[in-house]
Symmetry: C2
Subunit: 717 residues, 2 copies
Amino acid sequence: MDNGSSPSGEDFCLLKPCLETGILFFSNIPFIMIKGESPMGKMNGMNEAAFSAPLPLNRVQITDAFWQREMNLVRQVVIPYQWEALNDRIPGAAPSWWMHNMRAAAKVVAARKAGQEVHIRQKITGMVVEGPDLAEAEPDFFYGWAFQDSDGYKWIEAASYQLILQPDAALQAQVQQAVDAIIAAQEEDGYLDTFYTLTGRERAFTNLKDHHELYCFGHLVEGAIAWREATGREDLLDVARRFAACIGRRFAPGKERGCPGHEIAEMALLRLYETTGERQWLELANFFLDVRGTAPNTFALEENARRAAEGQPPLPVSGERYRYYQAHQPVRAQAEAVGHAVRQMYLASGMADAARVNQDEDMWAACEKIWNSTAREKMYVTGGVGATHVGEAFSRPFDLPADTAYSETCAAIGLVFFARRMLQAAPRAEYGDVMERALYNTVLAGMAMDGKSFFYVNPLEVDPAACESDERLAHVKPVRQKWFGCACCPPNVARLLSSLGNYAMTQGPDTLYFHLYISCEAETEWQGQSLRLGMEADLMRDGKIAVKVLSGTAHGTLAFRIPGWAAGRQISCSGKECREAEGYLYLTGNWQEGDVVSLAFEMPIQRMQGDPRVRETRHQLCYARGPMVYCAEEADNGQALHLLRALPQEEPVLSWREIGGVKLPALEVKGRRLENAASALYTPWQPPREEETTLTLIPYFAWCNRQPGEMRVWLYD
Amino acid sequence: MDNGSSPSGEDFCLLKPCLETGILFFSNIPFIMIKGESPMGKMNGMNEAAFSAPLPLNRVQITDAFWQREMNLVRQVVIPYQWEALNDRIPGAAPSWWMHNMRAAAKVVAARKAGQEVHIRQKITGMVVEGPDLAEAEPDFFYGWAFQDSDGYKWIEAASYQLILQPDAALQAQVQQAVDAIIAAQEEDGYLDTFYTLTGRERAFTNLKDHHELYCFGHLVEGAIAWREATGREDLLDVARRFAACIGRRFAPGKERGCPGHEIAEMALLRLYETTGERQWLELANFFLDVRGTAPNTFALEENARRAAEGQPPLPVSGERYRYYQAHQPVRAQAEAVGHAVRQMYLASGMADAARVNQDEDMWAACEKIWNSTAREKMYVTGGVGATHVGEAFSRPFDLPADTAYSETCAAIGLVFFARRMLQAAPRAEYGDVMERALYNTVLAGMAMDGKSFFYVNPLEVDPAACESDERLAHVKPVRQKWFGCACCPPNVARLLSSLGNYAMTQGPDTLYFHLYISCEAETEWQGQSLRLGMEADLMRDGKIAVKVLSGTAHGTLAFRIPGWAAGRQISCSGKECREAEGYLYLTGNWQEGDVVSLAFEMPIQRMQGDPRVRETRHQLCYARGPMVYCAEEADNGQALHLLRALPQEEPVLSWREIGGVKLPALEVKGRRLENAASALYTPWQPPREEETTLTLIPYFAWCNRQPGEMRVWLYD
């Protein structure tokens, strides 16, 4: 076994002393890792020995003060609020219609089961049915977006994770109420989608491209698995299985071709397979992946069937029109992150799972290409993806505008999903770095520090006056919103934060991987032997991490990600074999109670710049410390933030600030402020007239938790 | 009479020597003038003695090599092409439908005159009727935009100006054919709009907001006046008068309130009044101006009438909804350039005429405010206006993005109209500077140097790859287009260039004002005495200007604009009284054959910067020389122009280049080119790795006359 090589490509032979009680120190690691060799010496191929899976949530207890607070917000604020929203009990807010639709569908289903003839009065072909005032709602009408069912499924998933973390009889009763509503709305053949049950079942599965039946199905599966994990109850999982079977009876090799317009069913089915071992779900996932983007394009066929019904001529059945849906090419031929960003991330997550489960080298190669396109060419420094509001989509490489950014919260969540799945297949620090970057910046920014409001769009530069008057910025909100008509982001934040333990570490046959440094206690099992471990970390403070074996004894490996932001590191560990590969540090040996690993990752304040091909960051820099990217807010720095310059040669100073009731590491940066007016609109060039100033920067995730105002991540140099 | 004061506010007593044969030299004039005192000591009030009017076109002969070439292009290329287009004879191009609509309307009109009942088969409420293939066109249907009539009127105007410049029997016969078609399409009561004649006359004047009847009327008047100037023929002017009378019978004090949705009728009516002396047209213009934006808003009333017919509840009758139309406030209360940029410029032009003609101080104050908003807060350095494609409109102050710019060619033409009218009321160099800036940059850029293609949108930064793939840039074309479905810009360029003499100078009771420095011969009359003058200038080469009295004798004043770009000046003139005010130099005395005025305006290569409030020009500069702004093109500088820096401390060098068959003054500028790639998307900040380079800059108007490629006006410093 080789010693690996350093991420910067330099020789790395100094690792040996770690076998004793050595203390090592390396520096100048680049911020984003470049490719090294894989642990087993394989570069691009799949390597089963390195595969890993998330720990079951009941084996991870997050104890980290910062993250516990976030998770508690979800429990105490977000989940109760969303339950009220699902039941249309939020005064002043537009109804969600979730429970309404479930109950209405249940009546139809019950009538059908009782052999009564059901008369469908509502004929809808669009994506949304704008509802009236609650009091005027028709009891048997569907209201809201076609994919409204998914809201409740996401809520069930988040609430179930919270029940795993902390039992709560009242919450469990609410989830059971939701589950019962779903059970009642499922048709006898397993079909479950209130939109079509209420507006015409005969059209079910005829518009997979837009109508999100398979998207709702995917969220149902995720919710059902979480609910079983929390309570052991199979009721919702049985609903999901029956719906899956219903889908599988229609879509399968030799039967009808089709695939989801909004992906998620792929990764949900793979999870269902990995949870239950029932092979038919893997086959259905594979079918959806294999059909996607192959000729004749199934979305084109669907559209042509609808056009034929309206007497319109057919469209060509080529795929190029379906880039938005990532259905322009067979998935194994896809090499660039394109189209709707959330869909792309969910598809890539499913592909990464499928590559690992099937050990599909071609699929894996496509995953790596899509990863590289995403993380090396199309990602904001905040871990946000999807630069354009047109189609909520990926733009061309290196097009990363700050003020018109889309960077949807859900897309960053999708990137976390994708990164975790890439890590499960191949532990490389780059995947963990990006997961951490998305999580600590865009995902966290998506929710206010009181849990009461949310960003859907996460710009890197905001001028509220511009947002309010400029239709080109209509998608950018200068303050978080309480709820959205299309309420995808808040429940997505809730389910991710509630299952943080699934991202912090994964477990291979004899290895426990630490991807994120979040204080926790966790239990792992290696070939029948179990260990209980405690991690102490506080990335708000510094990069010092201690892992102790609290109980148990086992032979195996603890693997630690060497963060891209670590300018240097000290490792202290006794009597274990130590090696490094692809940015992970592997400590192997017999572990027993009392063993301690101490890691100290140097966490300097970093001044970062964008690749020169990123036009939008020209002549600018931003500040980062550990995983956190910083921003300047009007609250600290006054108006017209574009007049500020930061002096990159000057050393910034850490300075703690309380924001939203939390003490956060802020920065003081020496800079200059340009005079704010000229004698005319255009004047002869002259050296800038500036005054000295000190900029105060706060972590990006904490922006807009005081008064609304301007914000900038990138500062002129 | 005082000596005036220098534009920079400094004492200006050195002017006296000019009374002899003095040579004067002053420097450090700011690029855009700030307010000084007016010639008569009045600041903001109207001053009748300074009023002036354009010279009749037949008294101005442009002899300037550069401009003659542009005007010849219009004659030889643009006007013949447009005639074919109006007649739907351009193979491969979408039909214009102009002649088709006129002929179809003429049949309806003839039938009505013959007392036959006319059955209208076409009921249209929208703005556009998409036409079929020519062969399938219904002979009695209207096709194209509701305002399609105006295309031909603009063509008649341009062609008529060309006939003044140079007789051409064939062209005159074509114009006569167009005029005859119009005459035949006019209804018995004077009404003339083929859209309503063909789709339902009973709805005429019920949608002034959108359906552009009064816009077409305005262009008809402009065309009719030009045609009479060219030929003495009253036929089209009589058509215009009858239509005007028809309008005036409906809209007048005490009758129906209403005003144009797309302005131009105001300035056209004022021109009709000034041309004919017929007071009723002034009254109609005043009525339209006075009604605009007053409560209850006439556009709201119109809309509510339409809504009532459809059973919809009325909208509030407040004006705020009509900012786009500049109908949100009474015109005298308007202080900011807002809404659709062409409309705003046309309205302001009409307001400036009305202020002068009526000596309306409040109207004048509003004109000055709109001017200041336009030229001091919302104008590109190229003289383009209207920064946002959303509504082709003005954005907020100082929002002047380079790559997403709209900057419509027609809006720059509108700014030229507005500036000339401001000059007519108050000769201030700022107005002339802006007129010249718009003309030499955006207007010229609007047409290819072979006259065969046109820009509608004039960005200051272009990356063709981005334009082709990015819907946010869908309005930006990286190459000029042959023709447009909404063909407003090409004929507008044609009519402006063909009447250049109307902008170069204006004449007051005893003063001839030179606003632009374009070689020409002109005849002026002061109180019955006439002078024939010859100007020699070549701003492509330098700022040296000579004006000679070729014949005649008269007592009066020659007034010369001191360009904002002149870094210094020498004036040589014998035996005349000399004074300066508001950036104009006034030479008064007895003029006779052989008198010569020599002006030498220093024309250095200037490095310009934007007001710090313009976020988009931060850390950037651009180059200008005389009235011309420069740009870097890929053809000279390679790809990725954003990687270039210009060194403002280095002196640029003039270097002539042939582009499109014309020798143009290019610039060589010392600069740096940043390395084009990094090891990762985000890396620790380091001082830029650059190599030395020399940038080649060409006049902005000449961009995209070689191979298509990137272009940038603003360069990083």
